[in-house]
Symmetry: C5
Subunit: 321 residues, 5 copies
């Protein structure tokens, strides 16, 4: 499926036309064009770059891994890198999205199809009244979708933290499991910070120095996206604190449990050791009082039972058992 | 009960009139109007928005959860989000309060009725001499109430920290309970920081860029609110430190107690094990000195008692018992 | 005792006159007046406020607790809050001092008499040559005294830290005591930071924006106070580090001691358990070699003693005993 | 092998000529000269310094160890210090590279031959179209190579962290090994930060204040290098967090394992201690029920086996075994 | 020995003349005078202060302890405080050096003779070609010496950290010793930070606002000192990280060793307890199979030896022994 769109004077005129046609529209000032590439080859990119006059460095960055979210300003266009978030078997898998913004064209280049570009299209269609602002409008819808994705993720992380918190004071807690999950959670949070923190700078840069000057009426919408970015960042910081709280409490609990176990060991060891000592006494081959006599047996048994019970109640009262 | 108020030239003229009348007063420059909505529906908000010319984004934010405290500047009005604090069974439950500020109207929108707006009204009535400053005066009273709420909370948290501190060196301390409470406390503090730290920026923004310019005479009052915000922030930071102190000391105590328990175990184990070893000796089926002789019994008993007492005193002196 | 002073053209003219006379002098430009209030009532303050034209908010702050050190600028006067330090049974007890500074009057309001204002007076009398700078001179003497108090405190905390450091490697160390003291110390340091850190801003604000412009000749003296404030702040930060060092080392020591204790337990347990096992062997009711024979006894005893001694030397060599 | 190059008007004219010839070309404005020194002696440097008019302090810095990455601006030239990274038996070994930049000459001075300057030359040859920008072009290729080296290292550290993470939840984990490796890893990261963090300032300084003004067309290339530097810095910070996560989880695991071991000890100790207590009972020299009777033996054995099995199942069910 | 020097037009004219002569030279614009005081009395200082017109506050600071490194600007002179470093039995002993800088005189006041001023003189004599810059030249030599002292110290601390790192994975490690040394090291580092971190501000202030304007030719030399200061600061920060790494690893090791010890205890306890249980069985006074029979003895011994060996091999295989 070819993902292309042509807006003329704020009205959607065409969609799904071949990318080859783009060059026809780009030179018409009343047109705004969008098209999307998914995991393109070097050649695909080169032909696009030539057509739209994109800088070689920007094109190179599309294919290199490990970019950070950023805005690069070139003479005739902007190059933006952001990350969508995607979960793969419990571990965070960021999807790189490269964006070229020229005067009247927006090109999105997805690393793979884990980034659902169709949802961005739905978002555009939900606010067609702003389509007259051209590329600025398209870019806003795109960023809004990306940041909302981050927001959903941070909410998801939050509920994971809450689950762990509930597990913490649950007596059936399985330490190993809790450690594993809090480890994974923290790891995901570190990864997530790497893609979300630089977003502040990205959106801020776009608001302050966009060459296709953002229209005054669009400004609150970008401000709104920026606000969401801040919220995500603050929330992420809180989550760090909460996970820290979780871990420290868990550590303290382990210490506490070790103490409990040691007390139990002592108690039972004493309760078993004392009778052993007494029967040892009555097993001596010396004529102790009652040796070989029935009353010796009763005496031995009485002392043994009495001491064991006494120890049991003592430990019970101290709360060691 | 309808919560509306109309001030004309600094004098309270009417209250409790239907919200529908608001539009009549808003267009009169000598009027200042306030009204309050609690958990309004989308339709309620839309009608208000149309009447006062509020921006769609601001109205949308009212209904979305998880806003951060902030000030949004629109052409004709301000949109402010702050949080009141409310305790629900020991866990902090922030209540979102959305505020629209136009040239001569203040609209408060409460997420639910846990935010007691009547107390704000009392505060307004306590300083009617400033009513002549219109919306600025209403907004000040409102923010002052909100920030005082934060201040009360931080004082409450402080006394909770002190209680835990007292418990820490109490010998009857129940570790589990202390861990639970310090965990909850820290969690509440993290939540609280999220709603209180951005308040600095909120009040600062209002002081520096308010479109309905704050009157010079009102300025110290806003400065006063700002000061309280700073105090809350500093105090919250101190509390973090204090809770950190608490936890680290608690951890050290657990280590200390484990050592104490281990010493006790060793001591008692030795005191019991030694007699066992001796009676074992006298239980051998070999003709040891005194075997089958009464003096063998006395010897055995003497050695056993003497060694046990000696061990007991040794451990007592070392402070292990 | 009434604490009032009147300077005329830099010369102390009167002292101890009734506060009621102040209003006579305040209106004379060549006079500088000081008076002090200790724990005044609302009425006392109101009458003063009226006489000197003090702002209602400032007066209100005097009576509210939990102020932070700050400078408030009003049209006709400054309002300064600082804290003196006082130790009450080992825990820090800050004493609030409110200061009103008008063009030619300085009013000090002490929360209680733990702040020794007479020492400030002594300081003024020690540098009468600067009395010609009027209020600026009085204020300097006052701040200098306050900051020196902070400085003494931080030195005191420093020597407490050193005492704890000495105790740390002392073998007679009582862990419980050390924990208690390091806990208290850290708590005091947190409290102290709250009153000393904002002092930087206080003194800096006074130097940069004082309305009664500081005379060029007085400037180095204020700079000197500022310098002391910085020193206190830096020293406090070092102390935090030192206490952290102390605590972490203490924790490591506890772990180390636990290991030592465990080794001792193992060693002694083995030394006692082995003879028990051997006498058990010789206590069997089966015809083992030497059963019922004198040489059996000697054999048993020899093995038992030999093994015990061997174990003892082994553990001794491993350093476990 | 002599490493020298001469570009004239952006075209590589000569290479491998003796350093002595450099002075002939330096005075020709259309020439750009590069030459490389590896571990030069004081005399080598002095003669170069005289020829190119280098500042004595810069020359001195070349021979001193422990420089930090920096740019020094002298009247007629720049002096830059950066570090290449090289691994020597698992521990990071930074290689100092000193760079002199005059109007039309670039001198590279390597501390030793662990810095592979030939790879820089390859990079230059891969982008000859920019050779017309002279020294700026040479410097860019050099910095690009250095920063890419840092980038490779951080990727390498990342995969080491991942390996340790995989080892963490592996049951065959050898704690000692894991501690050693996480210790080494963290140590390398600390060292690496020292050479990589100041690179931000180095590149930024070059971009903003280069005396041979960077040509507008070269600017995006320097921006690209700067971007890589930021990426390395952010990634390094993430790695710190990940290693922290690793270590804290490892500590919690140790606590967990200690608890597990303690439970096992208790369980087995009880399972062995109980039969011992029972046979002790039946070993008494008193006429207990069944003493000397075959049914006494069956009774003893039955009780012993029953209790042992019961304990085993109890502990199994509690999960202690 | 009197330490005085007189330079006239950049040439050393006299040295070792009495301090009383200084006043003759100070008033000659082509002269630059230096003299040194070691632990002077109040009177010494007062007479100097009068002669050179030094501010009373600066003179007071010389005699007060606990200054922080700083530059104070007075109308006619600068007052600088820096610290030399000196080791006294393993603990850092900073030596205060007060410096007065007038238009053509430099006065150094040493707290005690642990600061070797003669080395500063040697440094001056090593760069006489800059003597024509007068006081600026003297001050540079002095600061250069002080900062190099800091640099030597940080190198020394670095090698101490490395020694501890080597000790960490050494099996003969004595925990107590390691704790003591890492404690001392960290303590010294905290102290050192207090005297070295403010040096950035000191040198920076001198470069930016020196009243005797630094000559353009001297500037790189001050920049060089500043660079060294930054290097010391960055290195100190790395050392903090390394010591943190050291400590955390040491803590993890202790946990690991505790686990090892616990496993050993379990193993040996079981190996001894099982034979005891078996001989207990054969010691019962009931007619068990083989009681009183030689084959009973062989059976008992066989079971006992077999079980013990079996346990030993099991534990060996699990790696617990």
């Amino acid at each position: 499926m070819v993902r292309t769109r042509l807006y003329r004077n704020g009205v959607l005129e065409k969609k799904g036309f071949p990318i080859a046609d783009v060059s026809d529209y780009v030179c018409q000032p009343d047109c705004t064009v969008w098209f999307d590439l998914c995991a393109p080859s070097q050649e695909d990119l080169d032909s696009i770059a030539e057509e739209l006059g994109l800088h070689a460095l920007a094109v190179e960055d599309v294919l290199n891994d490990h970019q950070r979210p950023k805005v690069d300003m070139y003479d005739s266009h902007l190059f933006i890198t952001v990350y969508g978030v995607h979960f793969d078997e419990g571990s965070l898998d960021p999807v790189e999205l490269s964006i070229f913004v020229t005067r009247n064209a927006l090109v999105t280049v997805r690393e793979n199809d884990h980034f659902e570009i169709d949802k961005v299209v739905e978002r555009w269609d939900a606010s067609t009244e702003m389509a007259k602002y051209g590329v600025t409008y398209l870019l806003h819808g795109l960023l809004d979708y990306v940041v909302d994705g981050h927001f959903d993720l941070v909410q998801d992380l939050d509920s994971q933290v809450e689950e762990l918190e509930d597990a913490l004071f649950d007596d059936n807690l399985r330490s190993r499991e809790l450690q594993r999950r809090s480890f994974d959670l923290r790891k995901n949070m570190v990864q997530f910070r790497r893609i979300t923190l630089p977003m502040r700078e990205v959106v801020n840069t776009l608001m302050r120095r966009e060459p296709n000057k953002i229209d005054r009426a669009m400004m609150p919408y970008y401000q709104d996206v920026y606000d969401h970015v801040l919220r995500v960042a603050e929330w992420t910081d809180s989550l760090r604190d909460l996970v820290g709280n979780l871990r420290e409490t868990h550590l303290a609990q382990q210490g506490f449990r070790l103490n409990e176990i040691m007390k139990q060991i002592t108690s039972w060891a004493a309760i078993i050791a004392v009778p052993t000592a007494i029967t040892g006494f009555y097993g001596q081959n010396v004529p102790y009082p009652g040796s070989g006599q029935p009353w010796g047996f009763w005496m031995s048994t009485a002392v043994l039972v009495a001491l064991s019970l006494w120890l049991y109640t003592v430990f019970k009262k101290k709360g060691w058992l």
